[in-house]
Symmetry: C2
Subunit: 342 residues, 2 copies
DNA sequence: CAGGATTTGATAGACGTCTATCAAAATTCG
DNA sequence: CGAATTTTGATAGACGTCTATCAAATCCTG
């Protein structure tokens, strides 16, 4: 009924507390035979070290650093806010979180920042990755210095990061295709796409998934080459409005990232009897309003709060050296419509 | 940089450790003037008691009891499984979880069980409520005995429960209506509904929300009185197949709860060229298969694992007397389609 | 102001683990 | 075999909080 302690382990193994401690904390000077007696006892008893007591004793603190892109991207700003709020809550668990910002899409700046991190001051890092070789190298160096590394929102495949917390963007694109295809069923025509930039990895992946589904499952719709909005709402509004006016056969719009406001404005300018189904990404103030007034049909979303929590938990588990690290729940592609808004 | 301790509080307040302790733990024999000096010091320093150390010291353990309905409902069985798994993980945090089962829909049995719970053995209870007055009374008595109570999945409004962890079922029904209405757009006709029993509160609420949306937003569709499946797949299959055969104008099906297998079978029997859009509840082995083979279009889901975790966290917070209790993330109505299956 | 009651302080030991130090025992080696 | 080395044990104090006990100080009452 009560959990076994190191005292029990010592008793069962027939050794002293000191020896148990040496084994538990990987100190040297223990003969193999003795070590295995202790490990056997641990196994027999099902002993698990009381982390709370251990951390209390050593005054353990987790010093984490979150690295986010700077700039006006509203998803990133929401993420920053979530980090700040979770940082306050994490203090209770002896976790100190520092936030650093680097210019968006600037791999060199990101790599420089990573290189500057001192293992004396930081135990673990969560970064929104920019996909570049210099960053991979910097991650490898961080790991070599003994700092734990996970990627957040945007992954860095092929690097030595120890985990990724974010959604599967191909899956997100497929989901969008599946929804929009169904919403437009019976109205064969064309579908317009809007992205931030095709140079951004997640948007490229979303497009890939979207086109996969549309082409195989809804061949009655054809796709128009995407508008690159570059996070500029006016640009998005103008280009989309132009396309919609020029082609009355456009029955659906998929917007893969920033630019929701521009999309909403272009739609508002249409004749009321024209029906265009719309699926966009990221629940923000604007996409929410558009859902409520009926101009958007669905919004795909990633819960940035969960992502931050997941990254913190994953880093702590890595630093605790838990074996195996208890899995963090994967982040889901969430679908919102007017009626299940949170 | 380091958190203040009770020693700091004592020093700043100019009192002894004993007095700080008396204030912190609500022991009597402290003059008001002294108490407020201590409270001021706590406020000034931003002191927060180190729960890990406190629990270590008192050998605190959280004894929770989860009460679930017995029977073949597959959602409830999945929930039971989740409770078992979370119970194992919770042991690490000195939380001992016991599961009890009562006959489904039997308010008397549930109330009896609640009455039998001994505050010497149980600190908190999470129950899947049956909506009845005897249960409300039993909950009140539990609270009077000092046991914390929250409802899980199925709420008990008007009772003295201290929280509810589950989804908003009216919202879920609205979401289903919104999806199915869009899926059937352009094909005006009739929509069939399937429920477990109209006596179950959550199904009744789902129907309410569903009809709200269909009637106001998609008046071109008309609704057929629901089939009551009573958790019997053959009954669901037969009745639904009969309706579909009799009425070629049925373009959509909404199934509010148990009975997914029967729905899938009735659909499989249709001529391949007939297209019926389908939205059901709860992601199970069967609804998952039907999504994958295209016979269901969307599945609404509540994450029972999150619900169990949420209930545990809420109960622990209540028992810790945290003030204000840190909010548990609300449970979302999740939408799954083939392409965002977890 | 004495006496009793109430409030406050001081101290010790506990919870489970960690770290450090020193002594004792066991092993290895010449 | 004795000395050097390695391995093990014993002990003490710490982390932040809790509980208990007893003594000292302060308060109230008549």
């Amino acid at each position: 009924m009560t959990r076994p302690t190191i005292h029990d382990v010592a008793r069962v193994a027939g050794v002293s507390l000191s020896t148990v401690d040496r084994v538990l904390n990987d100190r040297e000077g223990v003969r193999d035979k003795t070590r295995s007696r202790v490990l056997d006892a641990i196994g027999d008893l099902g002993f698990e070290r009381n982390l709370a007591a251990a951390n209390l004793s050593r005054g353990r603190r987790y010093r984490l650093c979150f690295i986010l892109p700077d700039g006006q991207n509203s998803f990133m700003r929401a993420l920053e806010q979530d980090v700040a709020e979770e940082a306050a809550a994490a203090l209770r668990d002896f976790t100190v979180i520092e936030t650093r910002k680097v210019p968006a899409f600037d791999a060199g700046a990101l790599a420089d920042l990573l290189r500057s991190l001192d293992p004396e001051a930081v135990d673990g890092v969560a970064l929104v990755a920019t996909d570049a070789t210099v960053v991979r190298i910097a991650v490898r160096e961080l790991r070599a210095r003994g700092i734990a590394v996970v990627t957040l929102v945007s992954d860095l495949p092929g690097s030595e990061k120890q985990g990724f917390v974010g959604i599967d963007n191909v899956q997100a694109g497929r989901t969008a295709g599946s929804l929009l295809g169904r919403f437009c069923r019976g109205r064969a025509g064309r579908i317009a796409m809007v992205c931030g930039s095709m140079l951004v990895r997640d948007h490229a992946e979303r497009r890939l998934g979207f086109e996969q589904v549309l082409r195989t499952e809804f061949p009655e719709q054809s796709l128009i080459a995407p508008i690159e909005g570059l996070d500029d709402k006016d640009r998005v509004r103008n280009q989309l409005a132009e396309k919609l006016a020029a082609d009355p056969g456009i029955v659906g719009v998929y917007s893969m990232g920033a630019g929701n406001r521009g999309v909403a404005e272009a739609l508002a300018a249409l004749q009321p009897e024209r029906h265009v189904s719309v699926v966009v990404h990221e629940l923000t103030r604007y996409s929410r309003e558009a859902l409520l007034d009926g101009s958007f049909d669905a919004v795909l979303h990633q819960n940035s709060r969960s992502e931050v929590q997941g990254a913190i938990q994953l880093l702590r588990n890595l630093l605790d050296g838990q074996n195996p690290p208890p899995q963090v729940e994967p982040i889901r592609v969430e679908i919102y419509m007017r009626d299940n808004l949170p």
